[in-house]
Symmetry: C2
Subunit: 206 residues, 2 copies
DNA sequence: CACCCCATCCTCCGAAAGGGGGATGGAGGG
DNA sequence: CCCTCCATCCCCCTTTCGGAGGATGGGGTG
């Protein structure tokens, strides 16, 4: 006897996925898909228009991507619960989503029952995490993030630049470049530029 | 008046995507989805059972992945046309799929009409490529592949190992390590180990 | 006002990396 | 049979890295 079905919005840039999700909630009595969007800007507009209770959102999208959309969405409508539904469970993605204040984080291999449950739980104020995401949140030692300037240096390292070239490019001395890199190594727990770029890429920092 | 509708099989490890694809072909008169599979092994079994004309297949799957499945599928049933439908258009993925003999390569952001067209074209013996894939195939200068041994060295470089450590690990002299790396640099068009690992990762070699 | 982080700069120094040559034996293809 | 690729090794030499130790000024924040 749900007088008011739960209003759900779907945000994903892939038509296939949007259709799949819509189909998965098609015959669910207490949940109604009231809107679809293919990027962050569309999501904001549709949220204003249709006032969903829960939003299922992909993170990687063209234009305004998931995290940006979540931040703006929560600023405009703090009562809307956002559940991330994505293919990736990398540290960087999970961390950014958590920081943006999501109610759940699921992976796209989730079966339909789990999605139904997640939407209901989120609407009720609960939190839902995919198992691998939960463990990712546990097992992190410190997660020291390089500063913006340090990342700038690291990006040039990833392109194969020598310290001297980096110094010229960034208009600083080679000594400073070395200092930045020393700090990057410490923060990423490595001791070579090759390992540093690998770790940074894996964490989604580059 | 299609006496025989086109038989289509869907292979993807994400339930959401399978449902979405099924829905996209639901009201298409001349195409019938006769099977679904969530990994390569299941795909082979279902293909034998249902004899599809066209297979829509993801590349990244647990167990037997897309390329392996395509190879075996084409060995067993050369008449089946395989269309790859994936999120990624990296050089390595495209190249491997092409080598396996696919009839098409589409990205998951393709609209439904394009999917319909692709399936029909493939069944008729034609080829379908997403625009970005087509251009990826054009713009490649030579694509010198490092040898197996060279890649083995590069993998250790990516872990941050020094040449001396790599030499010990692979039971060869440091000189040989440097020679291998020199060749890797030349083949990848770089001049530092940091850039080499980045290029290798982007090409899916690591 | 302390305190910490960031960005910038410094010296000294040994160890690593990378570029230039060249050499060998074996496998595979035309 | 020749030629190419691979894997292995050698010399020499210059440049670059990376470690260790600092220092300075500027922003924030408690």
């Amino acid at each position: 006897m749900p007088a008011d079905p739960l209003k759900l919005m779907i945000v994903d840039d892939h038509p296939v996925v949007r259709d799949g999700l819509r189909g998965m909630f098609d015959h669910v009595a207490d949940i109604e898909v009231v809107a679809e969007a293919s990027d962050g800007f569309e999501a904001l507009a549709m949220a204003r228009k249709t006032g969903p209770h829960v939003v299922l959102m992909d993170l990687r999208m063209p234009g305004l991507d998931g995290v940006g959309a979540i931040q703006r969405l929560r600023a405009d409508h703090p009562e809307i619960k956002v559940v991330v539904l994505t293919t990736y469970d990398t540290d960087a993605d999970v961390a950014r989503a958590m920081a943006a204040g999501v109610a759940g984080y699921l992976l796209k291999d989730a079966p339909r029952e789990e999605l139904h449950r997640a939407v209901r739980t989120a609407a009720a104020g609960g939190a839902v995490l995919a198992p691998s995401v939960a463990s990712a949140l546990m097992s992190r030692p410190a997660a020291q993030e390089p500063s913006p300037r340090e990342l700038e240096v690291l990006r040039l390292v990833a392109r194969g630049s020598a310290n001297k070239e980096i110094a010229r490019a960034l208009l600083i001395s080679e000594t400073t470049v070395k200092t930045h890199l020393k700090h990057v190594f410490a923060k990423l727990g490595v001791d070579s530029r090759a390992a540093a770029v690998v770790v940074a890429m894996e964490r989604g920092l580059l």
